[in-house]
Symmetry: C2
Subunit: 214 residues, 2 copies
């Protein structure tokens, strides 16, 4: 079956989907949408995903947008191993932790938003980083609390879940904007454990074929 | 059973949960967390929801954060009527439309973000509205496309779904920041249809007991 992930090495939302695909043991092709050159607005890509955003997953006949919607789909179609395990209450808690990243941090620090701060609001890199750190710290404070009270080695207990899948890419992004991570020992220890899992290691931005270091 | 929604009349995320509870035919008490006075940071509320955000739903013994996680929980525990119906692909599409609002518009225009623009970046109301309109228009363009190609009277076809639940509060917010909605005739027609449903009408901000008009 044809399975292609349209993404970009530095997109943290695409990074989430790479981890989820890997944890599910699925194989996929990667198609690079180079956000630096605005390729998300190319007519051919817009035809596929009118919203013009990555990630976008083609899975057989299905075209799927929005990283969390993609992962919920993977969870329903390829249930093993589960990434949102447990009772409805446990599943809600996992989703809430994931959304602390996917709703309350990431969208506010997305490339298009930072570009608006730079171009329309005249912010320099220090101003942009301060902006990004503000929302990262607000979210990380509650995620650190969650890590401290977790009943297992992962963010939501004994199993790797959607919450971990969202956390790791956000830590990568936090370093890019020079966030001081010292207040989050629980999250850093968790990250170290997660990178021992091949699906997390393989999904790292720097391990993508299109990664460039300038 | 005790069921209490901690919310605020103007919070569009709380508005989503009110609609969902109403569509499911559930009863609930409302507890007002007045965001104008920072009551989301009161110690008593932080004990309940360490993230200090609304909405927060107490459903019996369960405490649930994040509007979309709450609605997924309601969907699992009270499946009728379904708000995310269909095949995994159809469900993914509904979730993606919902996240176009819940991830790509709303968090960037949230009160705390607009306050940062005002206070830290010195934006006046025109600047703040321009900011908000930018992200609303980006999202509404693809939602309007979805409305135009919908195979039924609602955003994702023949049934009222999570996508409609997210759209209506975002239209309310769009008007607050003076967005020109003329480019979105499909969304406006859809909104009119949805307000004929009692759950949408009852959930309107101006129909909440704590609504004040100043």
């Amino acid at each position: 079956m044809n399975r292609t992930l349209y993404g970009y090495w530095r997109s943290t939302a695409a990074y989430r989907v790479r981890i989820a695909l890997g944890l599910k043991g699925l194989e996929w092709d990667q198609s690079v949408i180079d956000l630096r050159f605005g390729h998300q607005s190319d007519p051919a890509f817009l035809k596929l995903n009118p919203q013009g955003m990555v990630p976008f997953l083609v899975d057989g006949d299905a075209g799927l947008a929005q990283s969390l919607a993609i992962i919920e789909y993977l969870e329903e179609v390829y249930p093993d191993p589960p990434l949102i395990p447990g009772t409805p209450v446990e599943r809600a808690r996992i989703r809430a932790l994931a959304m602390t990243v996917a709703c309350d941090i990431h969208p506010i620090n997305n490339l298009r938003v930072l570009n608006y701060l730079r171009k329309e609001l005249g912010q320099d890199e220090a101003g942009v980083n301060q902006w990004a750190q503000r929302w990262i710290n607000a979210g990380f404070r509650s995620l650190e609390q969650a890590a401290q009270v977790s009943t297992g080695p992962y963010l939501a207990g004994n199993m790797v879940t959607l919450a971990d899948i969202c956390l790791v890419p956000q830590l990568y992004n936090a370093r890019r904007v020079e966030t001081d991570l010292a207040p989050y020992p629980g999250l850093l220890a968790l990250e170290e454990r997660l990178f021992r899992l091949p699906a997390f290691e393989a999904a790292r931005p720097e391990n993508q074929p299109e990664a460039v270091f300038v």
